[in-house]
């Protein structure tokens, strides 16, 4: 049977992807350019027995998502940069309390309210380091409406599997543009549900890690499994502790569960286009990668061996592969709609192995292929 198709906005695709993943709770506060995610969730969630709530502000929205998740629901909130700024304290809480949830950030410029209807990519470091303290981060950056659907599903899977907040970053351009989408059949995309505890309720400890990279199962709060939840450093039983060895173990485990080689191999996802024989790589993510692909095709037509490396998972960053490419090519060109963020991550990894040049724009207009082509020609 032919698949169901529709011309959908990126934000609509996101909401439908969340429902496909089994999301049953949305708590949010409307903000351009993400509002359509909330609008569609308010229509779709009641159909699947879910709950939609518009909270009084961004902070409360994040709190509602953490609370609902603790009861066992897959939960979502959607916002833009200014909203993520407000949510940061609670994102940290979700990290340390190991509470799965998905945060959509449809990026616009900044700081502060910036330009609400213009695109930006200036929240990529915020997604990594926005909340204080040492912590792991998972963030994905889809570049098309179809991929917003599938990456939203994957974000839920990663949140549940690694028991932590996961951010989906895309910008106003893909959020508001419309493309043809083929709806995956149920079962076509993997959907991971939360692991349930196998011990008896009286033996349950919410942070009872079996190894230094383990993700212990999370019971549903309010069930017969009773446990304590706090933002303080805690012992295996969930109660606060200041015992140095326990605090150290937990801090390191919560990072290692995402950054150990096995987890990285599972979480990292990249697309490579004509990289094998490339002399110059354009490293681009999100909507900017679409300009980069156009540029690669133009450059190839002129005989310049260009390739596109597109991290779909931004955090953890694909360090190993980028280091390899840095040794292979003469130069990496990194276009991003900010004044230089991911370029410093790449600089840290490739060091002096190849030349590195950015293309930056913060005027609310997209980086066009011509700007990338000009920079490639200048650098090689």
């Amino acid at each position: 049977m032919a698949k169901k198709v529709a011309l959908l906005q990126g934000n609509t695709a996101c909401a439908l992807g969340a429902v496909y993943a089994g999301c049953t709770f949305f708590g949010g506060y409307p903000i351009t350019p993400s509002t359509e995610v909330a609008e569609v969730m308010s229509e779709e969630l009641p159909k699947v027995g879910g709950k939609f709530i518009q909270m009084e502000d961004e902070i409360a929205a994040m709190a509602s998502v953490i609370g609902a998740s603790l009861t066992g629901a897959k939960t979502l909130t959607a916002t833009s940069g200014p909203g993520v700024s407000l949510k940061q304290e609670l994102i940290g809480y979700a990290c340390i309390a190991e509470t799965p949830c998905v945060i959509i950030n449809v990026m616009r410029g900044g700081p502060s309210t910036g330009m609400p209807t213009g695109p930006g990519q200036s929240d990529v470091m915020q997604a990594r380091w926005g909340t204080h303290g040492d912590h792991a981060a998972i963030a994905v950056a889809p570049a098309s409406c179809q991929e917003i659907f599938s990456e939203t599903v994957r974000a839920f899977n990663l949140a549940e599997k690694y028991r932590m907040p996961v951010q989906v970053l895309y910008d106003e351009i893909v959020g508001h543009m419309r493309e043809r989408i083929e709806f995956p059949e149920p079962g076509e995309l993997e959907v991971i549900d939360r692991a349930a505890p196998t011990c008896s309720p009286e033996d349950y400890k919410p942070y009872d890690a079996k190894s230094d990279t383990d993700v212990p199962p999370l019971a549903a709060f309010g069930s017969e499994y009773r446990f304590h939840v706090t933002g303080l450093n805690k012992a295996a039983d969930g109660f606060p502790t200041t015992k140095a060895s326990l605090v150290d173990f937990e801090e390191r485990r919560q990072i290692a569960k995402v950054e150990c080689p096995e987890a990285r191999a599972d979480i990292e996802s990249n697309e490579e286009y004509l990289c094998d024989d490339a002399d110059v790589i354009i490293l681009a993510y999100g909507s900017t990668s679409r300009s980069a692909r156009y540029a690669v095709n133009e450059l190839r037509a002129e005989g310049i061996k260009a390739g596109l490396f597109r991290p779909i998972t931004l955090w953890p960053f694909p360090e190993k592969r980028v280091a390899e490419l840095g040794k292979q090519v003469k130069a990496i060109v990194l276009p991003e709609m900010n004044l230089g963020q991911m370029i410093f991550e790449v600089e840290r990894i490739v060091k002096n192995d190849c030349k590195l040049a950015g293309v930056h724009r913060v005027d609310g207009e997209p980086i066009n292929p011509g700007q990338i082509i000009d920079q490639v020609k200048e650098v090689i």
Partner: protein
């Protein structure tokens, strides 16, 4: 390079030009099975202000979703014409509302005028269908999708009670533009 055909609809916010772009993209990608991307740009105002909607159509997946060199452009107001009737390729075309966008910017492209808002008011009796008249005209002038595909996409978008009204508006736009070209 894959072939791209780029169309820009521009006018005042609230005139339905983003909707016109969406309908064209649906005609191309859903009805005709081509590749299409529709995007838009607008200010913070809910009504008024210049707004634009762009549709890129091709036989292969569309990478860069915004216009590079515009094949065909519509401007419904002078402000939109001044702000958005640029980047039109040599030999391309520009359609202006003769009452509300009387002054064409200079350039090496063909300029056509139709009193789109006036036609909506006098021939159909409803200004709200001006965007559908404009869409019919743009499809006639560019041939980027068939007349039938465009009509099918228009009718799929409107409530039952407004089918006849929109059918009439679409046909009017298509035929008036075809007369201009003849």
């Amino acid at each position: 390079m894959a072939e791209r055909y780029e169309i820009r609809f521009s006018g005042a916010g609230g005139q339905g030009l983003i909707t016109a772009g969406i309908i064209l993209a649906e005609a191309a990608s859903i009805v005709e099975g081509k590749h299409a991307v529709q995007s838009q740009s607008y200010g913070p105002e809910a009504r008024g202000g210049a707004s634009k909607s762009e549709v890129i159509i091709g036989d292969a997946p569309i990478d860069y979703p915004k216009a590079t060199v515009v094949d065909a452009c519509l401007a419904m107001t002078q402000e939109a014409a001044d702000k958005y009737a640029n980047g039109i390729k040599s030999g391309g075309m520009l359609l202006l509302d003769s009452d509300f966008a009387p002054n064409a910017p200079e350039g090496d492209f063909k300029v056509y005028y139709l009193p789109i808002m006036r036609l909506a008011k006098t021939e159909i009796g409803r200004e709200i269908v001006a965007n559908v008249i404009a869409l019919g005209a743009m499809i006639a002038m560019t041939g980027v999708v068939s007349r039938e595909a465009g009509e099918k996409a228009v009718l799929a978008k409107v409530p039952e009670a407004f089918v006849d009204l929109n059918k009439k508006a679409y046909a009017l736009g298509f035929e008036k533009a075809a007369e201009l070209l003849a």
